[in-house]
Symmetry: C2
Subunit: 364 residues, 2 copies
């Protein structure tokens, strides 16, 4: 998931007069949570980047920016997205940093309804890393690109001294084309929308954690990393009027749904029992005191769809390999605007907050 900002974009202040704001969350320095996709990340984007860049596009942006090139009737609407990948370790059950970097950017483009077309890949290599490792990562990127039907069109390589990296970091950017008639963005969530998730949640986060921390949870958990553009195309073939799409990566479902609730000024109501949490994920979360709603996914999407189209969209999702586990998990409501509430199994309700940081750093 690329940087996002809540809809309260900063007042138009002259960037030249900008000074470092009061320490963000009382932090004068960067902490791990600034990269976690939660409240600290949002503050950094709003208070530092959006203001410094001096434009509203960034403040309004979701997983990818939708750009208009040229003017007139032939104007192309492009989706443009970027993400850096620093996942540790480089290889984990179900994938590696290479396919993650391709799928992640493909998915960010797909979340605006775009058909991904071209990627770039920029490496920061650490002196001393085996070329064999670089080659394995590059091959994984190539295979993932072919699977997602995108072309890696350009790239760059820098090298930093041993001790100033962690094997390799890679940044992918992507360009896609938004089909006519499609307008997918978090602001479009509306009361009456049905909230659908495309499959079980929490697998990526738990898979990475299991190898990093040497934990075992009964069965091996593999990452869900996968490209979602095909699934999105299948959904749009049913109706172009999908309101919102989001891939719940860093910060999990909790972060994705909070951002949508805030951007649209609507409420989101989830049924806890409806959220598909695989048993090993539930066990791992229980063991470690984590909330499955906050665990990162890399091959899932959450969709806000008008009620009238929901059954047909759900059917199309289930017929697609990436959506066999699609299920309704909640609805968009007029009550408690900007807030996500979950009905628990015991009949109570609780508020699901935007996580402050990420429970598991360097998950992608």
């Amino acid at each position: 998931m690329a940087d996002t900002a809540t809809p309260t974009s900063p007042a138009p202040v002259d960037p030249a007069s900008w000074t470092c704001p009061a320490p963000l969350h009382d932090q004068p320095v960067v902490v791990m949570g600034h990269g976690g996709g939660g409240a600290l990340s949002a503050e950094l984007v709003e208070q530092v980047f959006a203001l410094a860049y001096g434009n509203a596009t960034l403040a309004a942006l979701t997983d990818s920016a939708v750009l208009h090139l040229g003017s007139g009737p032939g104007t192309a609407r492009l989706a443009f997205s970027t993400d850096s990948y620093v996942v540790r370790p480089l290889f984990f059950p179900g994938g590696c940093i290479g396919d993650l970097a391709v799928n992640g950017t493909v998915n960010d483009l797909a979340m605006s309804g775009a058909r991904p077309a071209f990627l770039s890949a920029a490496f920061v290599l650490e002196e001393g890393v085996e070329l064999e490792v670089v080659g394995r990562v590059a091959r994984a990127m190539g295979a993932a690109a072919r699977a997602a039907d995108v072309v890696v069109a350009t790239g760059d390589t820098k090298v930093v001294e041993k001790g100033h990296g962690d094997g390799l970091y890679v940044t992918t950017s992507g360009i896609g084309v938004v089909p006519d008639g499609v307008d997918i963005r978090p602001q479009r969530a509306a009361p009456g929308d049905v909230v659908i998730v495309s499959g079980p949640v929490g697998l990526h986060g738990v898979a990475v954690m299991s190898v990093r921390e040497g934990l075992e949870f009964g069965v091996e958990v593999t990452s869900d990393t996968a490209p979602l553009a095909g699934l999105v195309a299948a959904m749009l073939a049913v109706t172009p009027d999908v309101h919102v799409l989001r891939d719940p990566t860093r910060g999990g479902l909790a972060a994705a749904l909070n951002e949508i609730a805030r951007a649209s000024g609507t409420g989101v109501r989830l049924a806890e029992r409806a959220v598909p949490v695989p048993e090993p994920v539930a066990n791992a979360c229980g063991f470690l005191g984590l909330d499955p709603l906050c665990i990162a996914n890399e091959g899932r999407l959450v969709a806000f769809v008008p009620r009238a189209a929901a059954d047909a969209v759900l059917e199309a999702m289930r017929a697609h390999p990436q959506g066999t586990g699609a299920t309704v998990i909640g609805e968009c409501v007029a009550e408690h605007p900007g807030t996500v509430v979950v009905s628990t199994a015991l009949g109570g309700t609780r508020v699901v907050d935007l996580p402050l940081g990420e429970q598991l750093p360097r998950i992608c």
Copy 2:
């Protein structure tokens, strides 16, 4: 400068059967020179990335890839480029990593004749870096973007633990639109072309080195970092038939000219005395045993222009703020194809090789 590959692209081998080739230059691991923009970089792109990604686009690419979106008469030709920036220190005389990252990608786009339009910015921050530093870099990016008339449209932020970065790394990607009738690429260099450089060379490399190594060369040398898209537009207004443009960044003029000579199969002949090397750069190179032709520039371009248009192009360049020091430094010849030769002040000639790596690591 983004990754480039020499025209001898690898044979179409099935990527699935790829194994790590015989150690590149006998190096089984990544060395600093793999990021230097010279022969080691080219080997890495050809033998690892281009093959793994399984497409010819990357093998043929220059500073940016020119892409066709859609089909038919309304098709847009887009330039797409990416570069990671790891310069050390973050701030140096004349600029910082922020404006360098904007200007570098703007220039890569401009080198295909494109009008830069949108940028992305992805940060890898090191835990513990002051937010004040991040803010200063972001402001420099905003100012540089406004100066170059591009919009920073999307971004991302990741954080790595203290000791796994170097303050911050940033990756910018850019999209530009290539005007109709423009076809600028290294393959188009042809005997008879005049070789023009837009101003004095070596300032960026020496400026960074001076602060990093604590050296002084009589006067303070400041980086030439600057956006070149305006200069390119002024040149194209004279003639759309500019054959080649290149910004001689890592590896300097030597790398840029060698890549053009190899891609086009022509020879390049330089007059050593014609190359504008400022005195502090000459002094620094003499002192350190470096070749000014191999020093990185971040606000210069080299152009191959048909002889008939050269005078008019030169005049337009000199009338532009970024081209006041433009001068002819050589010509493209049919002799010694693929090779760059310089006529020395003493009347002899010497071959200018593609540098193996970069004399000064982490210069951009």
